[in-house]
């Protein structure tokens, strides 16, 4: 009954993606997410103002490649082609898009129980769409259920293979949930991962 009718869009430049993945693995920048127990806190860096998480309905738009200037901390070979690095770009179907819009309205009027029910309808239609898991995680943030917000972020991450922009959004959600719990070191690391991914 559940049917994912929206397949991820395949972009052409696989070689480019391979190089990016290889290098990012080398940097340990976007390899495997730590599970449950997060990585030990590194030096509590003096956090510069971090980018806010993406606006709620933003992921509805197809991912557009960003060509932001790289921050100095990132060691990236300048020869990397920045165009077409993502292999997939998740979008919402008509049904889930309308349900997300409905959930957003319910969320704005702080009707969290109903918003959750609406997002779960959407998830039943597209259970593997990471955009929906990020939506659900952001709802959990509003409800101050930060642990579940993080879990939803990790669920999004697990299905956002090849979609760097969505991975970045998932990391921002995870970072926000750390920050809200006062786990600043982990939050910092997660934001950095998000920024690295956005950088591509």
């Amino acid at each position: 009954m559940i049917h994912l009718y929206l397949r991820p869009v395949h972009h052409s430049n696989r070689l480019g993606f391979f190089l990016v993945v290889a290098i990012s693995l080398g940097l340990s920048a976007c390899s495997i997410a730590p599970i449950q127990e997060s990585a030990p806190v590194v030096a509590p860096a003096p956090a510069p103002p971090q980018p806010e998480p993406a606006p709620v309905v933003a992921p509805v738009e197809p991912a557009v490649l960003e060509t932001q200037p790289l921050t100095p901390t990132e060691v990236v070979e300048p020869s990397i082609p920045l165009a077409g690095t993502a292999t997939h770009s998740y979008t919402l179907g008509a049904a889930t898009r309308s349900l997300v819009a409905q959930a957003t309205t319910q969320r704005k009027s702080r009707n969290f129980v109903q918003a959750a029910a609406t997002l779960e309808r959407a998830l039943r239609i597209e259970p593997k769409n990471p955009l929906l898991w990020i939506e659900y995680g952001q709802l959990r943030m509003d409800e101050k259920n930060f642990t579940q917000a993080e879990s939803m972020g990790r669920k999004a991450l697990a299905s956002a293979i090849g979609d760097l922009r969505t991975q970045a959004n998932a990391w921002r959600l995870i970072a926000d949930s750390y920050k809200a719990r006062g786990r600043n070191g982990e939050a910092q690391q997660a934001y950095e991962r998000a920024n690295t991914l956005s950088g591509f």
Binding site: M1, H3, I32, G93, A94, V113, G162
Partner: protein, 767 residues
């Protein structure tokens, strides 16, 4: 004579006066007490209302893979009537590639939705567009859910209350004509009717001419037992008159329609026309047609004698008699009556092979709710429960279990008892329980094996061992482990010497093969290296209620668990290592529509995603070339993953596994825990396969996670090989840094190195 009487009266004037006075007083007190009883009962809450339980609603959306035939069947299951014009609620019409329907108004937990006209256009096996009566696009729409049952008291009354507005006008008219023609005129009792009845009874010498008015029947059902005594008759008559004094005819008719018994199913009494309509026809009372109303009126006289499911001819004869009567009294035309008489009884689930409600599933719902509610809240307060049951999946699971158990029973030696079984189907991503079968007698609400039969899980434990091994970072699918004899000293001083299923020893084998062929010795050796406490902890993380003891036999499934618990573990595996608590309830709503409790989705990551991906791929090989291979004949190209389980002496036969959208666990065994002579592959697997093949499911399909790549190895040895070299070649997913030795004679030549590199790239990109 007259003088003597006068003298007697004069002499005993005082005592007679007092006696008469006392009698009058007693009579008054009696009437006052009856009056109090009648008013109290009627003015307070008239009925205790069992919680109503709904299945999950069927969602329709643009782009959905659904054929027009499937939608038609779905609507018919929901009791929608097919017609040529669709002006009425609950009707639909099919024209070419299009279905038009008028949905029923329904109060969902999160939305109070009015009746709506919806048009659905199909193309190439999909819904391509939906629109409403104003031609506006409707991207998503849920149909009103199927009512699957109620939480009524044990041996108790179940009912659905209907208002006068929800009652078709024909019903009270028919009731009056058949049961009480002077209802609108009499005062609760009908002296003319009584005299007529006595006359008829005297002449025939029997007591079959009923003279009770509807009001008296109501009183009898309401306050009194069914014993035929003079005093009861008198009380009944007085109470009937009192009711008429206090309440008007419309109220009394409505009370009658909601009160009267119209059937029985096990310990469940079907009270009132609202529930009877669902019970017999699977749709709301308001939507009943003439022949259906006539059948319900038939049941008033005796739901046992005229039981339409057991005595269809008898019920049909009386139904048609009633239709004639309605024509005779000009309620309907002769033509209408004849058309209705030509129709079959039209019962829902008339095949009797399926239950009309789901005791094992409702049992789980009830246990879920007991944590938050008192029994009385559930059976009396009129709560509405939105459950996760998928009626179609439930029906397929029931049918598969029953038919396969019947077949397997013929191959057993035991003739004294029947094989038993249980099945649980869940949706991995949200943990919703779609179906529960608690035994082969699917409509019997007795021992619920799915929840309560704690049995040894056998080799179903093996994926947990291999998962723990992969997570340690020291193992992958091609890692060679030793299938060698082993003797382990137990704490008690004894030795445990496990054996393979076929008593053979296979020597060094890759992990993927050890799991696929369910090799015990290899698994025990592996578990000793990985560490028993880690394995025990993994069971708990995946969702086993209590962490099992870290004993050596844990690797071979000495763990005991009920099918539902196994379903929790396998749901976590199917969901990529995210545990989500299994739920049967989405929300509980009070009878005003306020949500009292919601059970939202919760996920917890308990396994590293790449480790889980590797295990899932290994479990697919179980289905391709291992103990699950016999499923392929029925499943064709459907990609599924699974594992068989057999406990010692063949006491338990298990199969658990998943597709892209469903996780299914099947158990089979005897209630007395004797040997079944079936392994997981010969007993539970055919049932599992039949369920998977019967439901609308999709292939397992996960993109390769970053950090893994595809490698081709030889199944028997685990050595890397190229395409041309061996028949026993398979593709596995291993970490990028995994170092897999080549089979010497199968190394890639320079010419195909480029090809292999391309494939490797192909793999890492997630094809």
């Amino acid at each position: 004579m007259n003088a003597r009487l006068k003298k007697f009266l004069k002499k005993n004037k005082k005592p007679i006066f007092w006696s008469l006075g006392l009698l009058l007083l007693a009579l008054s007190l009696w009437i006052v007490s009856l009056d109090y009883q009648v008013r109290k009962q009627f003015e307070g809450r008239r009925w205790t209302l069992p919680a109503k339980v709904y299945a999950q609603p069927f969602e329709l959306y643009a782009g959905q893979a659904l054929s027009i035939d499937e939608l038609q069947r779905t609507l018919q299951r929901l009791g929608y009537t097919q017609s040529t014009q669709i002006s009425r609620t609950g009707h639909f019409q099919r024209k070419g590639n299009r279905i038009d329907l008028v949905s029923r108004p329904f109060r969902f937990a999160d939305e109070d939705r009015a009746q709506q006209t919806l048009s659905i256009n199909f193309s190439n096996g999909r819904i391509d567009r939906m629109w409403n009566s104003k031609s506006e696009d409707v991207p998503v729409f849920r149909l009103d859910p199927l009512l699957i049952g109620s939480i009524y008291p044990t041996q108790g009354e179940d009912r659905i209350i209907v208002s006068t507005q929800e009652t078709p006008a024909l019903l009270p008219t028919a009731l009056k004509i058949v049961e009480d023609r002077r209802f609108d005129a009499h005062i609760g009792v009908d002296p003319i009717g009584i005299l007529r009845a006595i006359w008829v009874d005297l002449r025939s010498g029997s007591f079959d001419q009923g003279a009770s008015t509807l009001t008296q029947q109501l009183v009898r059902s309401y306050f009194l037992t069914n014993r035929q005594t003079i005093s009861r008759k008198l009380t009944e008559a007085v109470m009937a008159i009192l009711l008429e004094v206090h309440f008007d005819k419309t109220d009394l008719m409505n009370a009658y329609i909601n009160e009267i018994n119209l059937g029985q199913e096990g310990g469940r009494a079907i009270q009132g026309f609202g529930l009877a309509s669902q019970f017999y026809f699977g749709k709301p009372l308001a939507e009943l047609q003439l022949h259906e109303i006539a059948l319900l009126v038939t049941e008033v006289r005796s739901p046992t004698y005229y039981n339409p499911r057991k005595q269809p001819e008898r019920a049909l004869a009386r139904r048609n008699l009633i239709l004639d009567l309605l024509a005779e009294f000009n309620v309907v035309s002769i033509k209408e009556a004849n058309a209705a008489k030509a129709k079959p009884l039209g019962l829902v689930n008339a095949t009797a092979s399926h239950s009309t409600y789901y005791p094992a599933f409702l049992d789980f719902v009830r246990r879920t709710l007991r944590r938050d509610y008192q029994e009385a809240d559930l059976t009396e307060a009129g709560l509405v429960v939105f459950s996760t049951l998928d009626p179609l999946v439930q029906a397929k699971a029931e049918a598969a279990l029953v038919s396969e158990l019947d077949r397997l029973d013929k191959n057993t030696k035991r003739k004294d008892v029947e094989l038993e079984g249980a099945a649980v189907v869940t949706a991995p991503t949200n943990g919703e329980v779609l179906a529960i079968v608690g035994g082969r007698n699917v409509s019997y609400s007795g021992f619920n094996r799915a929840l309560d039969a704690k049995r040894s899980i056998g080799s179903l434990a093996k994926p947990v061992v291999y998962l723990t091994a992969i997570e340690s970072g020291d193992y992958h699918a091609a890692s060679v482990i030793n299938d060698m004899p082993v003797a382990i000293k137990l704490a008690a001083g004894t030795e445990w010497v496990p054996q393979n299923y076929d008593k053979n020893v296979y020597g060094p084998v890759p992990m993927v093969r050890a799991l696929a062929q369910s090799l015990n010795l290899a698994t025990v050796n592996l578990s000793q290296d990985v560490g028993l406490p880690k394995i025990a902890a993994k069971f708990k993380q995946l969702g086993l209620t209590e962490q099992p003891r870290a004993v050596p036999s844990i690797a071979l499934g000495s763990v005991t668990a009920a099918p539902l618990e196994v379903a929790q573990i396998y749901n976590s595996i199917a969901n990529g290592g995210f545990r989500t608590p299994l739920r049967a309830v989405r929300a509980v709503v009070d009878n005003q529509g306020n949500t009292l409790k919601a059970f939202p989705l919760e996920v917890t990551q308990v396994v590293e995603p790449t480790a889980m991906y590797q295990l899932q791929r290994m479990m697919i090989e179980v289905m391709r070339r291992g103990t699950g291979a016999s499923a392929r004949a029925q499943l064709g190209d459907l990609v599924v993953a699974g594992k068989s389980g057999t406990s010692s002496d063949y006491r338990d036969s298990w199969f658990a596994g998943f597709s892209g959208s469903h996780s299914v666990v099947v158990w089979l065994g005897y209630d007395d825990n004797q040997s079944t002579r079936f392994s997981g592959s010969t007993g539970a697997l055919p049932i599992w396969t039949k369920i998977m093949a019967g439901i609308n499911t999709i292939s397992w399909d996960q993109p390769l996670p970053e950090g893994l790549h595809e490698v081709q190895i030889e199944f028997t040895t685990g050595l890397a090989v190229n395409d041309q070299c061996t028949e026993m070649i398979l593709s596995i997913a291993v970490p990028n840094d995994a170092d897999i030795p080549w089979r010497e004679d199968c190394k890639p030549t320079d010419s195909n190195l480029a090809e292999r590199t391309k494939q490797w790239l192909h793999g890492i990109i997630g094809q």
